[in-house]
Amino acid sequence: MTLYIKGTGNVSPQKTVGHPGFLADGVTHMGTRLACVEPDYKTYIDPKLIRRMSRIIKMGVAAAVDALKESGVAVPDAIVTGTAYGCLEDTGIFLSRMVEQQEALLAPTAFIQSTHNTVGAQIALMLGCNGYNNVFVHRAFSFESALLDAMMLVAENDANTVLVGAVDEITNYSHSILERIGLYHKDIGSNVNLYEEKINGTIAGEGAAFFLLTNEPSTENYAAIRGVRTFYKPTTSQEAETHIRDFLSSNNLTAANIDLVVSGRNGNSAENQVYDEVHTSLFPGNLIVNFKHLCGEYPTATAFATWVAANILKNGVIPGVLNNGVETTLTFRNILIYNHSHNTHHSLILLSAC
């Protein structure tokens, strides 16, 4: 089943909101936390609604509004969201108040907004969309699961247009907890140094990316999403290679047909080993770019990668910020996103030109 990307919206640590040009200038972030470059949300959301929204909800709604506006679809048939952490900030507020107020007299707003389905529900409320609405909370498979659900909805004729996206945020609490357990590399300097030396740990990221997917082909579309596959905890890089070969084969492709691999390398030498072995063995002559120096590491970072791949296919160019300062113009046909999280959650997303 092939779906087409008709519109995109992306709130990320780069200047991506409102389609200002495809990664024309890279944003440098110092330290281990890449926070989103956020818009003035009052241009996206009714001020009466904003007052109850935490940051992640506003990020998700703004990305969704951008995707819908660009596609010209006012109300999609379905909304499917992926998130690993959900609305962390409001969850923290709600839990803190439970402790402070000894589980009595809890104000409802933080609780209502703390659930994982808040972003998808808020978008539906704003649009008056009474169609299918689902959220997937599958750690680093959350976005991929949302994509698969969208593909199945369309394959079974339950929808023609689906708004699919993923959201995850960093909060002060989550960042300090994840830093304490050693996920981040404290002496990294800035995000542009992410791949320069062998280090342990990576940088934290966050973002909200939404896509309006349709079953109608058009040369105006960004790209076609041809397939998504996930696999869990391969014991060796050879096992990962077998999955990749099989996935490509099921789409009538071989590794040689892949014009570009968008790789989830995140600077952590322990986790990069699998990427390096797979790249060397399967894609020795293929173009490969990394994306996590731009968005950081987070469980739904593949949504950012999908936005990157879709834009490369639409514009026919790899911006310099993705490719060591070298802008590359080519006719791209097939792009494979290969990502893993902690060498447990591996995923593949295949996009092709329209």
Partner: protein
């Protein structure tokens, strides 16, 4: 009563996170729900929590809600009456 009304306006703005609204923007008799400030059912719950937290008043009869929460003045009158009863 006037001081209570002013205090309530500040507390309502904080509790409901009414951005860009100042106490002087809320009329003493201005309707709070639907028209006026445009509050909704979630705000009603927040106001019930505010009454309990700040004034130790539990709204015993839910049917009194629309009357009590009609405006800042009606809330202030309800608080004053309740405090007089319990004094």
């Amino acid at each position: 009563m006037e001081k209570l009304i002013q205090d309530l306006k500040v507390q309502i703005i904080a509790q409901l996170n009414l951005q860009d609204v100042k106490p002087e923007d809320i009329g003493d008799d201005q309707p709070l729900f639907v028209e006026g400030l445009g509050l909704d059912s979630i705000d009603a719950l927040e106001l019930i929590v505010l009454l309990q937290q700040q004034y130790k008043i539990k709204l015993s009869n839910a049917e009194d809600g629309p009357k009590v929460f009609r405006s800042v003045r009606t809330i202030a009158e309800y608080i004053t009456a309740h405090q007089a009863q319990t004094a």
